[in-house]
């Protein structure tokens, strides 16, 4: 056995246990440490404990979230009054665009207003009052219109601010649509989760 193996003290050996665990020792360092562990029962016991802890922790599995929890998440997200911001567009310098052209918001406004008005006219022109399911579907379609506008504008490189759309365009349109339809339904109708029309179900 080389002379320098015998010069490794216990403190030095213990300090090398973790680099050994993490596989960070050179072959020479590892050989020197293992030589010490063969001679020193106390350090060997510490090494055994450390290695067992490491292997047991490594054996613990990553766990799948129960499907029921994910279903609740998707359900709440679908009924949430909050529409997520569009993801920032990637640019070469890694920064998303922060300028939101006014004309883009205006175009979105016109589109959303037309969609909402079309739905409203379609519902109100019916000979019978719409059902609660139809009201919910209409509001869902209005919400989808918002998401669609956001996605289209994102693909076109136009980052529209969600709060601008929501505050000035979609909420008034959706609120008007919902109120009109609920008037048609009568007081017994249950209002669906229209953004801004009823308290949202999402957690704060």
């Amino acid at each position: 056995m080389p002379r320098w193996d015998e010069s490794l003290r216990c403190e030095e050996a213990l300090a090398l246990l973790e680099p050994l665990i993490d596989g960070e020792l050179s072959a020479a360092e590892e050989a020197r440490l293992r030589a010490h562990l063969e001679r020193c029962p106390a350090c060997a016991a510490e090494w055994k404990l450390a290695a067992d802890i490491r292997s047991e922790l490594r054996a613990l599995p990553e766990l799948d979230c129960p499907p029921a929890v994910l279903e609740r998440v998707f359900r709440e997200a679908a009924h949430s009054s909050v529409v997520p911001l569009a993801r920032p567009r990637r640019t070469n310098d890694g920064a998303g665009s922060s300028r939101r052209p006014f004309w883009a918001a205006l175009a979105a406004a016109v589109l959303v207003a037309l969609l909402a008005a079309g739905l409203l006219v379609q519902q109100l022109s019916r000979p019978r009052p719409p059902s609660a399911a139809e009201v919910e579907r209409a509001t869902a379609e209005a919400r989808f219109a918002l998401a669609y506008v956001g996605e289209v504008s994102r693909r076109a490189g136009l980052d529209l601010r969600d709060d601008v759309l929501r505050k000035h365009l979609v909420l008034p349109a959706a609120r008007g649509l919902s109120q009109s339809l609920q008037q048609s339904l009568g007081p017994e109708a249950q209002a669906p989760a229209v953004p801004g029309a009823v308290p949202g179900k999402g957690r704060s």
Partner: protein, 175 residues
């Protein structure tokens, strides 16, 4: 990538961290739900490459909040506390079988209990390093800590686990 795809990609990491950090499945489910809904509300403004780190940071903070709620409930409702030993027995009781399996299962159970008692940041860094297999650099980026600090935390966390488990280890040595 859409919300559902992001959730599918990251749900295991979020739920596993919460589960091992809190050592409680129901609380981990609540935390996961809360985190994913927070991701729905705010996460789509993130750089796609940063989603995983953002989720784990939010999960860790949500776990802290959950621990605070747990402590608060324990203070307000003393009878609501549960027997950790009994709970651990019911969850991780070893299957009948060879003695070595029972000994290994007992060691595993005591290890998980010790991990659950470990103060943070040691608990977080060990979960991230040993269970979730993140590199030192990834943990450094995730927790926004200097690399050397992460090394020290992991070193001290491992030391504390050894101190907790050293007693009677000879009887329960694995393998």
């Amino acid at each position: 990538m859409g919300f559902e795809a992001d959730v599918a990609r990251h749900q295991r990491r979020v739920f596993s961290f919460a589960h091992y950090f809190l050592d409680n499945r129901e609380e981990a489910e609540d935390v996961t739900q809360e985190v994913l809904l927070r991701f729905w509300r705010h996460g789509s403004g993130l750089d796609p490459d940063g989603v995983g780190a953002w989720l784990l940071r939010v999960t860790r903070n949500a776990c802290y909040d959950q621990l605070r709620r747990r402590r608060s409930a324990a203070v307000n409702l003393p009878t609501a506390g549960f027997d950790v030993e009994e709970a651990a027995e019911s969850v991780a009781a070893p299957e009948p079988g060879p003695e070595s399996q029972a000994v290994a299962a007992d060691f595993r159970r005591r290890l998980q209990e010790a991990l659950g008692r470990l103060p943070d940041p040691y608990r977080s860094v060990l979960i991230l390093r040993e269970i979730q297999d993140l590199s030192y650099q990834e943990i450094s980026d995730l927790l926004e800590l200097p690399l050397n600090t992460v090394r020290v935390h992991i070193h001290r966390g491992r030391q504390r686990l050894r101190e907790e488990l050293r007693e009677d280890y000879g009887d329960a040595a694995v393998g």
